[in-house]
Symmetry: C2
Subunit: 117 residues, 2 copies
């Protein structure tokens, strides 16, 4: 049977409170894609209320603004990432991708030979 | 606020069925320590029935014996790891430790500078 290493990564405070993880990362990516929190929440299949609450909580814990809402204009209101939100998204992607790639290598080095085919 | 990367690792089949992870790893370590499945289950605060069922399931999925029960003798029955169980325990420890260490390095490289102090 072919086995695969699986991995879940998140960031927490010293007292184990989750501050940021794959859900909020995907939410920020979707906001960047759609320019809309409502569309991003829909893509992730979560409520607008939860999406908003999650990001506000991360902003509070990280002490940084991640998203900014612009009102009015011809297309109505939009939600966009702040420069800090963009930077966090890019850096978190690089971090998570690197750890995932490494876990596959470490699995091949340590476990592939040990586990029965 | 000081943030820490957190990580959960496990092994699954291609269709996403968990075959081995930190719980079963700790169970095998405790069996090696105590020479007893009952003592190992107690240390991990799970029932004997669950400990036994979990390991039998892993054995079935991995197609290998991980533990062996010896009956009788002056001290009564014991449970010990098979050579394959020992090898899996050691290799899994090396794999998981390496991925955890790497995740701390990747966090320092990619995110420490991005997150507010």
């Amino acid at each position: 049977m072919k086995l695969t290493p699986r991995i879940k990564i998140w960031l927490s405070t010293a007292d184990n409170h989750t501050v940021f993880g794959s859900g909020r990362f995907r939410l920020l990516c979707a906001i960047e894609e759609f320019g809309s929190l409502a569309a991003a929440a829909e893509k992730l299949n979560i409520s607008y209320r939860k999406a908003w609450g999650d990001l506000k909580e991360s902003e509070k814990n990280l002490n940084v603004r991640l998203i900014i809402k612009t009102r009015g204009g011809s297309g109505g209101g939009k939600t966009q990432l702040t420069p800090e939100g963009k930077r966090l998204t890019q850096s978190y992607a690089a971090f998570a991708d690197e750890v995932k790639r490494f876990s596959k290598e470490a699995f091949a080095n340590h476990l592939a030979e040990v586990l029965p085919k």
